[in-house]
Amino acid sequence: MAYCTEHETAPEARAPVTIEFRNVGYRAGQRMILQGLTLGIEQGETCVLLGRSGSGKTTTLKLINRLLDPSEGEVWVEGRQTRDWDPISLRRRIGYVIQEIGLFPHLTIGRNVGLVPELEGWPPDRIQDRVRDLLVRVGLDPALSSRYPRQLSGGQRQRVGVARALAADPPILLMDEPFGALDPITRSEIQQEFLRLRQAMHKTIVFVTHDLPEALLLGTRICLFDAGRLLGTYTPQDFMASRDPMALQYLAAFEGNPKLREGCA
């Protein structure tokens, strides 16, 4: 099993494996959505799951926070099998951001962001401080705290989604095409913000996307999925040089996209 080395920090120190898939399969009815997945994700890396729709990326993500249970094999998170984790305490340790964001429309931004701390029983003034701090970190005005989700733009809402996922400072962050619905300019801004944010906090991130430039830009490692199988894992540099037919298809599809070079620089 090949583990990617951190290319941002000291490459010689190999971080412990935080999330591990051991020959995992997931079946929905008769259909195998995912099969034979063996993958270790190290602490602190940003592992991008790249693949087209229906390739099993999102399923892989949901197996980590136990929104799904594997039909075969085992998923280990922080040294414990997900089946042995209480799903609630497991999910409280894992931030989750989805493309549709799923902000609670009846709660203010402040309460949306502060919800997990609230569930965890933090005192209100500490929650308030935390919310303010997080909104600033994701590049939002803390005054937005008293607004409702409908009063925000798409980009602002997605930033709130990220802030909410970070609220209780979870060691793991799962992101399912979080920036997929944003316009290109907002998307690029928020990607840069994400890179800055990642530098500041040491999190293990699993990031689903079908966008190659995004994968190259944000990933410390890229896991290429197709038809429910993991085809291979690459550093962004390796991916660019790969001769794997699926990787080549991707490169061809995004050929001429100036972001491609920029991403792996």
Partner: protein
């Protein structure tokens, strides 16, 4: 004698019958809410009950109201007092819209919102109390509104088994072929229905979660 004169001459009786009417509608709707909302929630949690419960509630709706009032007569404790019977029958009728709206209100909450809640580690109870019920509340109230309006109309038939209410005038008027008497029962009943529809409609509107529009 004009209708207005009739109301003036019989104002205590009219008010009494109206209060009887309201009592039957109010108590039966309250009971239906107390039974129907938990049942509706149960259906969202245990879908296996969906068909039998909705089927039974549907079946009740198909029984003609006059027949239902009559059918319930032999029931021991309830049969002693006609108003109890009427309340039971009205409760049964009110169940369907309330169960149905509770169920669909909860199941129609944006799946992304539910997934986000679940993904952030809410227990099922927290998800229900903090997310699903608040967002479904206006739909549930809409069900209560429909149930109440139907109930105001149906309660007129309760007079047939001696439970009182504005139906008294209607049945008396029918027996005496006196249109004015029929109207004396029908008009206040219609007004009550309109009032309930409007009043609960206001509550429903106030509870409706604002649409997620693009800013």
């Amino acid at each position: 004698m004009s209708l207005l004169q009739f109301f003036l001459n019989h104002r205590t009786e009219v008010i009494e019958l109206m209060l009887e009417h309201l009592w039957m509608v109010g108590v039966s709707t309250l009971l239906a809410v107390i039974i129907g909302i938990p049942l509706g929630i149960l259906l969202t949690r245990k879908p296996i009950f969906k068909r039998p419960v909705l089927g039974a509630a549907n079946l009740v709706q198909t029984v003609p109201s006059l027949a239902l009032f009559g059918l319930l007569l032999p029931i021991p404790f309830l049969g002693d007092r006609a108003s109890r019977l009427a309340i039971l029958a009205l409760t049964l009728y009110a169940l369907l819209p309330i169960i149905q709206n509770t169920y669909s209100g909860i199941t129609n909450v944006d799946p992304a919102v539910v997934e986000a809640g679940r993904g952030m580690g809410m227990t099922d109870r927290q998800l229900l109390m903090r997310v699903q019920l608040p967002l479904a509340l206006s739909v549930i109230v809409a069900g209560v509104r429909v149930a109440t309006v139907i109930s105001v109309g149906l309660a007129t038939i309760a007079a047939a088994i001696g439970a009182g209410g504005l139906g008294e005038y209607i049945f008396r008027g029918l027996a005496m072929v006196n249109n004015q008497l029929i109207l004396a029962g029908a008009i206040p009943a219609a007004l009550l229905a309109l009032l309930a529809d409007f009043g609960i409609g206001l509550i429903e509107k106030a509870l409706r979660p604002p649409a997620q529009e693009e800013a």
